[in-house]
């Protein structure tokens, strides 16, 4: 489904990704752990071309998305449309549109990008919002919702575009602890329905339960990867051990 090969990403002089290789099968849930600065967010943002890599290839459903129509430099060389209509992303800071209602947040992209009619878009949006437990908040504005509620809207918003892959960038890190569960529950459900997911997270419990594969990143490379039980309970690498030690001590 998704295959990263030799991905490098630089910001000015700083090399944030130093050669990452990763394969994700359809329906797989991959949890990415690591200290801050390890490049895990950047990795996610490469996959949906928010930050395209300097070197390397990313294959999405067989196509190298780093080379697109009119290959040259800049945005025309990337296959933006192809990517963004198949890959959805949910952010740590939710990034809901504050000037639009909950319903409008979810219907905006389907209507503007996919050209769906208002009825079609509304219908789908309502269904999705019901699914995440917010069917009664359709006409509310984001500022009136709790963090957990906002994040669930953000998930519904991404799902409205019928993505094949969902990227989650530390989506619970900005939430108060008691709100984390409701969001993780949505992720859990999505996973059980067979969505292909890349989840950058600190929630080890979730990684163990829901993840099919756990990846530990540090210093711009993948240090260790494997089944959750293996990586989390018996890490092989020093750095992995160290990191897990620190996290578990909390």
């Amino acid at each position: 489904m998704l295959s990263l090969q030799g991905v490098h990403k630089r910001f000015g002089d700083l090399e944030v990704l130093r050669g990452v290789d990763l394969d994700v099968a359809r329906g797989e849930v991959v949890c990415i752990l690591g200290p801050s600065g390890s490049g895990k967010s950047t990795l996610l943002r490469c996959v949906n071309l928010l930050e395209p890599p300097e070197e390397g290839a990313i294959f999405l459903e067989g196509q190298d998305i780093c080379k697109g129509p009119g290959s040259g430099t800049g945005e025309q060389s990337w296959n933006l449309d192809f990517v963004r209509q198949r890959v959805g992303m949910v952010f740590q800071q939710f990034n809901l549109f504050p000037h639009k209602s909950v319903l409008e947040n979810v219907t905006m992209a389907p209507r503007r990008v996919l050209g769906k009619s208002r009825e079609e878009a509304d219908g789908k949006a309502k269904a999705l919002l019901e699914r995440v437990g917010l069917g009664d908040k359709l006409s509310q504005y984001p500022e009136r919702l709790s963090g957990g509620q906002q994040q669930r809207v953000a998930i519904a918003r991404a799902l409205a575009m019928d993505p094949h892959v969902m990227l989650f960038d530390e989506v619970t890190s900005a939430l108060d602890p008691e709100l984390v569960k409701e969001v993780l529950d949505v992720l859990r459900e999505l996973a059980s329905e067979g969505m292909t997911m890349l989840v950058v997270t600190h929630e080890l419990g979730f990684a163990r339960e829901v993840g099919d594969k756990v990846v530990f990143m540090d210093g711009g490379v993948i240090v260790e990867e494997g089944r959750p039980a293996d990586v989390l309970d018996s890490p092989q690498q020093e750095r992995t051990k160290k990191f897990l030690g620190l996290v578990l001590e909390r």
């Binding site: 928010l50 959805g88 800071q93 549109f97």
Partner: protein
Amino acid sequence: MNEFFNQFFDFTVMGDHFDEVLDGFFRNLLVFALAGALALAWGLVLALLRQLPSKKFLPVRGITIAYIDVFRAIPILGVILLISGSIPYLEFIPKDIRIPHWFGQPDPYWYGVLALTLVYGAYMAEVYRAGIEAIPRGQIEAARSLGMSHGQAMRHVVVPQAVTKIPAPMLNELISLLKDTTLVGVIALGEALLIAREVQAETFNASAYVLGCAMFLVVCLPAARLVDYLIKRNQTKVARGSHIAV
């Protein structure tokens, strides 16, 4: 002291010439109305051009930035004189366009509107820019992740939010513009202060100036207070905080 009052506050002179000066003031308002609307639109265009992403649009961004720099740095009076002193001579433009008498307004009106639009467009572009840059990057990222193009992201997500942040500084620019419409008197548009100068030349008394200025005061002072109020209200809004209501 008495002399002072006679010179500046001769109510007979003011009374006799009130209508003339008021007439002139309406001309200022007319210039303001059109130039203001055009500058608001032109400023937005400039701000958006300046925003275009990616290497391919570098020349566009460059030219836009140069335009904004230049027109913020030349005195408005200079621009008015340049326009009125050059356009009429460009013979390749048909006479009806280079010496416009459209909608009953004479050519100094149109030259003045053009000059003010060109200059204030630049200032307003910077106000828009500040508004746009105040919108968190995450908004654009979310929009683009959902598949919207840069243009769509601007149009539906960024600009609608940006315009709610700019009323106070924009209003400041507009107040400035209203006062600067007096500069068009240099090319003999019968605006309030030019008329006041004529009255002065006839009566040897400066009260007409006071009258003219008073008319501006009546409009601009409440507007300036409104700006203060808007700024204050915005500050309390930010202080109270808006996002997450847990």
